[in-house]
């Protein structure tokens, strides 16, 4: 059949069957298609904007916003610009995300451990909690807490009163505000000094244990330094801290700090919802460490505490951390549901109110999306770096 002479090279395939040529052609086509679609959309947008008389650009950021915001972490008045509104919204988003992450992690770890408890009742309660709350949409839970529970709180005059310092009513939870004296600076300095001291101590203890095998109670001594030194400075500098207690004047409370009901319901719902997911992550992480590891650690003579601290937890964390980070990202993204109950977060203030007032749809939505995208990319980059560092080193 073959007509080829022995020793001669096999004939080259025709150029359209050459994988390299094909790859180039496909990529050029794909790139051209993407550019064409992008250009088409851009052109349409230009035409539409011109027809509607909307000037694109970011000049609106310097205009006066003219609306009030119920919660702002940085000074803000109605005469401030939209650019300021952006920062207020971003900080509010970060606040609720940070608090939500903190509480959800605590509750989630407790639930995850409870789910594995040898106590049948505790394990079943944790199971019911997890299956109940992770199968109900977060938005529904937020609505429930906001419209179903917190809207039924009493008016300011009939507040729930805890010892004349804490008040709970439909406008929020009022707590005393700390007022720092000038000398409080010393306490702050002492606290940072204590942190530095503890780090130094931990290094020294680690080195000593490596050399002599003598363990040192770093945790308890460190805790003592961290709490004791600032506390001592606080008393020595004459207790430079006083409390501003909220007071009912007219129909509303003045002074103190307030946690608005929008923040409270958002936080409660985010915590309860995310904790159910974190609990499952923790459970699977702990189960992923095989029982042989525990037995091996016991065989080496490690006691229960060190076994947990030095053998089980480091290995479980390797499994837990990646999905945990994606849950943290979810908390950040889910905090946008704030817009539905009027908590002034980035989406509500910027993609909502600002967009409605200025009509700059493309600019506001792009900025909002870019912020969330930046947060996501930042966290996933950190995550990849961490994973690389902690992953098993195999041959």
């Amino acid at each position: 059949m073959s007509t080829q002479q022995p020793g001669s090279l096999p004939s080259k395939p025709p150029f359209w069957n050459d994988p390299a040529v094909r790859a180039t052609v496909f990529q050029v086509i794909a790139l051209a298609a993407v550019l064409a679609v992008g250009g088409y959309l851009f052109h349409n947008t230009q035409v539409n904007l011109a027809n509607r008389g909307i000037a694109s650009g970011f000049g609106f950021l310097d205009q006066t916003a003219g609306f009030g915001i119920v919660q702002h972490l940085i000074p803000y008045t109605e005469t401030d610009s939209y650019g300021r509104v952006f920062w207020v919204g971003l900080l509010n988003t970060l606040l609720v995300a940070a608090l939500g992450i903190l509480f959800a992690t605590l509750l989630g770890f407790v639930l995850g451990v409870a789910r594995l408890s040898k106590n049948w009742l505790i394990a079943k309660i944790a199971l019911v909690y997890i299956e109940l709350f992770r199968n109900i949409p977060l938005l529904l839970q937020i609505f429930f807490w906001y419209f179903g529970v917190l809207r039924h709180l009493p008016a300011a005059r009939d507040s729930v009163n805890v010892g004349d310092v804490i008040f709970l009513n439909i406008r929020g939870l009022y707590i005393p505000r700390p007022v720092f004296g000038d000398a409080f600076l010393f306490v702050v300095i002492a606290f940072f000094a204590a942190i530095a001291g503890t780090v130094f101590l931990a290094r020294w203890a680690h080195r000593r244990q490596a050399e002599t095998g003598q363990p040192f109670h770093t945790f308890w001594v460190g805790l003592g330094i961290l709490v004791g030194v600032p506390l001592l400075t606080f008393f020595l500098s004459g207790m430079p801290l006083s409390w501003e207690v909220p007071k009912l004047t007219g129909f509303n409370f003045r002074g103190g700090m307030v946690m608005i009901p929008e923040l409270a319901s958002l936080l409660v719902a985010l915590t309860i919802y995310t904790a159910a997911f974190i609990a499952e992550i923790v459970r699977s992480g702990i189960l992923a460490v095989s029982h042989g590891q525990t037995e091996a650690a016991h065989a080496l003579g490690l006691q229960h505490g060190p076994t947990l601290r030095l053998v089980i937890i480091p290995q479980a964390m390797r499994v837990i951390i990646p999905p945990l980070t994606s849950q943290y990202l979810n908390v950040t993204k889910n905090s946008t549901l704030a817009a539905a109950i009027g908590y002034p977060d980035l989406v509500g203030l910027f993609a909502g109110t600002t967009l409605n007032q200025t009509g700059q749809a493309i600019e506001t939505i792009s900025i909002t999306m870019a912020v969330y995208l930046a947060i996501s990319l930042l966290i996933s980059t950190l995550m990849n770096w961490y994973n690389k560092r902690k992953s098993l080193v195999e041959r």
Binding site: F26, N135, I136, A339, M369
Partner: protein, 367 residues
């Protein structure tokens, strides 16, 4: 001296603690140590605080029959509210004489899906063909009218029906896009890989609310003059784009789980890329990721509630709107409990199915 050895029996030991039966179970599982006993008692106390009032409100003191708010007894739930508004919660503003069409569509869907859920049976292939190619057309006609049926605007769709439509269309639309994106992400061609990675990471990085905002505010600007979509379609486009990025990551997980030998074997047989993927890799990969797809569907089902932001009346928004009706003020808790029950039933059912599948599909590659 002579010692006499006599047999003096030890005093009898008490019998070992009971390890079987109810008492044994209690001892092992609830009272194994003092700390555990305390924990058990604490949990029991919590349950005693929580359960009796909840059950009383939900069931024992609740009002089940009547037609108005005045029929409801105080101190208990008023399920009359749910009963009177049930039609609105299920169908939204779908005209009442036409609601049989929605029911028929769901019955057909259930009949079509049932043969697909179980183990192999002869009905599988025809059912799959029906659900993939025929059913979408039938459902579309039933919902929106035509062929002698009265037309119904999408703005009249609502309630559970709309929730299901968004979830099902979202997932069905996202699957093909997700597969293509996943294949593109694993491609060796740098341009195609970059395009796919950028697309996936962009949509995964932004919250769904901003996507919905974008599709309702920015999409009209992208379209040529005079062309416009209705609100539902705009929301669906946003959901599909968003969900296809998540689907791509699910499918990529399946592609990575297929051993390299399979790819090499397909190449060795001389199969072209489409054939190798379509006949060898994807059938195995997709089988592996069915549980992942169901999980994505669950997440999407819960996320459909966000369409409230752009003013569509899904299940949650229908109920939310009904709670502010002046005739039924103060019924928000009943409304939300009902909504929670509906969502929970669907999500829990799907997650149980996905877990069952996961156990059943543990055949090939798991070592």
């Amino acid at each position: 001296m002579e010692t006499k050895t006599t047999f003096t029996p030890h005093p009898e030991l008490p019998p070992p603690a009971n390890t079987v039966g109810a008492v044994g179970w209690l001892r092992a599982n609830l009272f194994s140590s003092p700390a555990n006993s305390l924990l058990t008692l604490f949990a029991l106390y919590l349950l005693w605080l929580l359960l009796p009032p909840a059950l009383e409100w939900l069931l024992f003191k609740a009002t089940w029959s009547g037609t108005t708010r005045a029929d409801c007894a105080p101190g208990g739930a008023c399920w009359v509210f749910i009963k009177m508004r049930f039609g609105q919660f299920m169908y939204g503003f779908f005209p009442e004489p036409e609601r049989w069409r929605v029911n028929l569509a769901w019955i057909l869907a259930v009949l079509g899906i049932l043969p697909l859920l179980g183990k192999r049976n002869p009905l599988r292939l025809p059912a799959a063909v029906f659900m993939l190619f025929v059913y979408p057309l039938i459902a579309f006609v039933l919902f929106s009218g035509g062929f002698g049926l009265a037309p119904v605007e999408t703005s009249q769709w609502g309630g559970l029906m709309l929730t299901l439509v968004i979830a099902v269309v979202g997932i069905a639309g996202a699957l093909p896009g997700g597969i293509l994106l996943a294949l593109g992400r694993r491609s060796k061609m740098p341009v195609i890989k970059t395009i796919c990675v950028t697309f996936i990471e962009f949509w995964r990085g932004v919250p769904l609310i901003t996507v919905l905002f974008m599709s309702s505010v920015m999409l009209p600007l992208f379209l040529p003059e005079g062309m416009s979509f209705d609100k539902l379609l705009r929301a669906l486009i946003g959901v599909i784009l968003f969900q296809s990025a998540y689907m791509a990551e699910v499918v990529r997980g399946g592609l990575q789980a297929i051993p390299k030998g399979q790819y090499e074997a397909a190449d060795a047989l001389g199969l072209s890329y489409p054939k190798a993927m379509g006949l060898v890799i994807l059938p195995q990969a997709l089988k592996l990721v069915i549980p992942g797809i169901v999980n994505t569907l669950i997440a999407l089902f819960k996320d459909t509630s966000l369409v409230i932001i752009i003013g569509l009346f899904d299940l949650l928004n229908s109920i939310h709107a009904a709670t502010v009706d002046p005739n039924w003020l103060g019924m928000s808790t009943e409304g939300y409990v009902f909504a929670a029950l509906m969502f929970w039933l669907f999500c829990f059912g799907m997650s149980q199915y996905s877990q069952w599948l996961e156990r059943r599909l543990h055949t090939g590659h798991k070592r």
